[in-house]
């Protein structure tokens, strides 16, 4: 039997509340410490205890962009994990379980799957002070043994690499001992002949980071000093990160009473000159709608993060979907300009959040970051960000001195590019802002010609912005047999599906929309006209991007690959569908 080196898909699963997430993170960290790269995939239900949690870690030497459907090794804390995942274990793969917990005969396991019985509780009983929750560590140790990996990396991961102390905390040491016993048990009782082996490579400095953490980092780097938000899955970890960094990074996170309060506080702070942000998910964004329109009318810059989950309504709170694109493009009554950015991976979450603040202030309008659950909670191992080229641009924000020297200040002055010089309270040029239509001074004005002047001015900002908004990004050759169109987090799975197609000799390219609005109509129209076999790939029911493309270019994409079961795409699914399209 052929053995794969450093090509692994591993999963730990169990009841929520038993340390599944922690175990997954420690495993991923242990991989990075041995010079390997990871991409993780988390599934969890909307509850605190009970229910099924799983944490998948994909491991390779190259950088990874997505999870895959099948697992080589499943580490199961309970029977439920086995029942749910046994059909997704590779032929020749394995399951680690505790026969005292699970009657394996009731699980109808395929004969090609190898079983590793590890008595988790019995092992823990032999360690003084160990408690039931440490079963996850025993599983980790057992996994490392099956995979023939270096135990020291796991020990280092459990202890915490940032710890200056050679020894970890008392709890960490107990966990290391539990893991070691699990490791020893497997080494003693089973042969080292599993289908995958892990071998250390040269260790490189890697961050293990989720999209939400990257958004938080990007905002801090951009000088976002104030974030107000209301908890909502899967956006909450952004506000949690900000709260954790208040003192270190000298920022303020204010938990608001509801999303309406959150966005209005952020608006107030931004109006007063502080770079500000709010973060939420679809339902919370719906509540913010009226104030988003107010931002448009009073030309207050703001960055609004929408971490999507599948709707409608409460939908699937902890699952994946891309159903809010048209909503974000249209949210708010009346008409006003906005910029919509949909990062496709952890790196783009960081850089585009940074860019969003510059765009918001340069054009004095709301800028949306549209992320999703898959980006929000999936950890990816990446090198540190290069920040040397990142420059804060506050647009036409007046300095105190400039403001003091202005005569006859018009906050909403009609200008050619639509942008007016922006003063802030406390400066020596007072002005009024109104949600009513207003004249150049900000005074309420109901005259028809003024309405046209002001509305046209606001919309000219969009034309100005369009000149510097990046085009959709093309991956693959200019000319291809197959053209994939998509946006946001499907990027990772699509890039890998393209590799599979290439192995089959099919040349595919991929137009990825990070900047969805303002929309580069001409570029996209020309590109699509010159492409053959155009396929739209999205994680929603109604092919929203295809609809938007049709609206702006008149080009109708007939072939669509859509997934909306609340789970993210696996590359194999996209590959199968695209191959079908290619073969007609």
């Amino acid at each position: 039997m052929a053995i794969d080196i450093n090509k692994l898909s591993w999963l730990v699963g169990g009841e929520a509340g038993y340390g599944i997430m922690t175990a997954g993170q420690k495993f991923a960290r242990a991989m990075i410490l041995g010079g390997l790269n990871v991409f993780t995939h988390v599934e969890y239900p909307s509850l605190i205890r009970g229910g099924h949690n799983s944490f998948g870690v994909r491991v390779e030497e190259r950088e990874l962009t997505c999870p895959i459907l099948l697992y080589n090794l499943v580490a199961a804390l309970n029977k439920d994990t086995i029942i749910r995942h046994k059909n997704f274990v590779t032929a020749g793969g394995g399951i680690i379980y505790d026969a005292n917990e699970v009657n394996i005969d009731e699980c109808s396991i395929r004969y090609d799957i190898r079983l590793y019985n590890v008595p988790l509780m019995e092992i823990l009983k032999s360690i003084k002070g160990a408690i039931k929750i440490m079963r996850n560590s025993v599983l980790l140790g057992a996994s490392i043994a099956v995979l023939d990996y270096d135990f020291d990396y796991l020990a280092e991961a459990i202890r915490g690499v940032n710890s200056k102390k050679k020894k970890g905390s008392k709890i960490a040491e107990l966990n290391v001992r539990a893991a070691k016993k699990g490791y020893d048990y497997v080494k003693k009782n089973y042969l080292s002949d599993f289908e995958v082996k892990l071998k250390k490579k040269t260790r490189k400095k890697r961050m293990l980071l989720t999209g939400n953490q990257a958004i938080g980092l990007g905002a801090i780097k951009a000088g976002c000093k104030f974030l107000s938000a209301y908890p909502m899955t899967p956006a909450s970890s952004i506000m949690n990160y900000y709260a954790k960094k208040e003192l270190d990074s000298e920022v303020v996170m204010k938990q608001a009473d509801d999303e309406i309060s959150a966005i209005n506080m952020a608006l107030g702070a931004s109006y007063a000159g502080v770079r500000s942000m709010t973060s939420t998910s679809g339902g919370g964004l719906a509540l913010m709608s009226e104030t988003i329109s107010l931002l448009g009318m009073t030309e207050v810059p703001l960055v609004i993060v929408n971490v999507q989950r599948p709707g409608p309504s409460t939908g699937l709170p902890t699952r994946q979907g891309q159903g809010d694109l048209k909503f974000v493009l249209n949210i708010g009554h009346g008409e006003f300009p906005r910029i919509v950015i949909a990062p496709g991976d952890v790196e783009e979450c960081f850089y585009e959040t940074f860019n969003a603040f510059n765009f918001a202030e340069k054009y004095q309008l709301p800028v949306f970051i549209v992320s999703d659950k898959h980006l929000a909670v999936s950890y990816k191992s990446i090198p540190k960000f290069n920040t040397s080229h990142l420059k804060i641009d506050r647009g036409l924000l007046l300095s105190d001195e400039e403001a003091a020297n202005l005569k006859d200040y018009k906050r909403f002055m009609i200008t050619e590019n639509g942008v007016s010089p922006r003063a802030i309270p406390g400066q020596k040029c007072m002005f009024r802002s109104s949600s009513d239509e207003h004249n150049e001074y900000g005074e309420i004005c109901e005259k028809g010609d003024n309405k046209i002047l002001q509305e046209d001015k606001r919309f000219r900002k969009l034309k100005t912005a369009e000149k510097e908004i990046p085009l959709p990004k093309l991956y693959g050759p200019k000319k291809a047999d197959l053209t994939i169109i998509s946006w946001g987090s499907t990027k990772g799975a699509i890039l890998e599906a393209m590799d599979y197609l290439e192995s089959d000799g099919i040349k595919a390219n991929f137009l990825h929309f990070v900047y969805v609005f303002p929309f580069h109509s001409e570029y996209v129209r020309e590109f699509l006209k010159n492409s053959k076999n155009v396929v739209d790939v999205e994680e929603n029911k109604s092919a929203q991007l295809a609809g938007i493309i049709s609206e702006f270019t008149g080009f109708k994409i007939e072939k669509k690959v859509l997934k909306y079961n609340g789970r993210t795409f696996y590359p194999s699914e996209i590959y199968d569908e695209l191959k079908g399209v290619y073969n007609g």
Binding site: V161, N162, K205, R206, M207, L208, L217, K221, A222, G223, K225, F226, K245, E246, L247, S249, E250, V251, V252, A256, D257, D258, I260, S261, A262, N264, M265, A266, L267, G268, A269, S270, Y271, A272, G273, V274, R275, S276, E290, T291, S293, L294, T298, F385, T387, I392, R394, I424, P425, G426, Q427, K428, M430, F431, R432, S433, S434, S435, E443, I444
Partner: protein, 286 residues
């Protein structure tokens, strides 16, 4: 020295009905700013939607006229951004006690140094005469043709229940009392709240200037001391032949912006955005 004329918006003048209490409140607010000698460019008047919420348009300070009910969170954000500013939030009874009731109650429990002035006319004016959260039980309106079934909101009692640091009521029929109460509220270090009876001469034919003049009495003139929460509650539920105005309760508390370790150092808006390093933060993920 700031003078009344510095606060005027010249030919751009209010469009309220003749005789509206809002004129008197605007006048009192200007007088309070003069009395406290506040620099107009250090004052931000924030409002929601309604007749009273147009007020920031007609006073020569900074003004932000937002959407219905949301003046308080906007004002809170402004104060967090720049604690040096005097933030005054204006709203009507519909705006603050109806659409914005959640923000009202939540603001009562956050001790941020802003002032909330509520023009309480017990009716919706700008939408022409509908029942409001403070309309009296049984009062008729275009939307309560049979008579209002609901009990009115008691904003003073709500504030007392939250032990709000400054709770007062005044009356647009008494310019001097109004001016002094607003000045006391603005100069108080902490969240200050003034409910202001403001007769709507067009739509509220029940709670008129005369109706109030017969009933209101000044707590402080009766020797009431605003230092006891239970006494304040007792006074807050007095609403009938006699209606108290004045300061119900006053107590200094820890201020959010002077307690939060980041905010207490320097106003957020004055923090430099130059050379923000995330080296250490990235290291934490390694």
């Amino acid at each position: 020295m700031v003078e009344l004329k510095n606060l005027s918006t010249g030919n751009y003048t209010p469009d309220w009905c003749p005789g509206c209490g809002d004129y008197i409140i605007l006048n009192a607010l200007k007088r309070a700013i003069v009395k406290l000698n506040l620099n107009p460019n250090q004052v931000v008047v924030v409002s929601g939607i309604g007749c009273s919420s147009k007020l920031p348009q007609w006073i020569n300070t900074f003004g932000y006229h937002g959407v219905h009910g949301r003046g308080l969170p906007v004002g809170t954000g402004i104060k967090i951004a720049n604690k040096k500013l005097h933030v005054i939030v204006i709203g009507g009874d519909g705006d603050i006690y109806g659409e914005g009731m959640n923000h009202f109650i939540q603001s009562l429990r956050k001790n941020i140094d802003i002032t909330l002035l509520v023009h309480d006319n017990q009716i919706y004016g700008l939408t022409k005469g509908q029942t409001s959260p403070t309309s009296m039980h049984g009062d008729k309106s275009v939307t309560s043709q049979i008579g209002n079934f609901d009990e009115p909101v008691n904003p003073i009692a709500l504030a007392v229940a939250q032990k709000t640091s400054f709770i007062a009521r005044s009356f647009a029929g008494d310019l001097e009392h109004l001016t002094n109460t607003i000045a006391d509220a603005v100069s108080f270090k902490g969240f200050s709240f003034v409910d202001m009876f403001q007769p709507c001469v067009t739509f509220n034919k029940h709670n008129t200037y005369d109706w109030f003049k017969e009933r209101v009495y000044d707590l402080q003139k009766k020797g009431y001391k605003p230092n006891n929460l239970e006494r304040a509650f007792k006074k807050s539920i007095e609403f009938g032949d006699k209606i108290p105005i004045g300061v119900f309760f006053k107590e200094k508390k820890e201020l959010y912006e002077e307690t939060h370790p980041v905010l207490k150092k320097t106003p957020l808006v004055k923090q430099s955005l130059k050379n923000i390093s995330i080296k250490k933060l990235m290291e934490e993920f390694c």
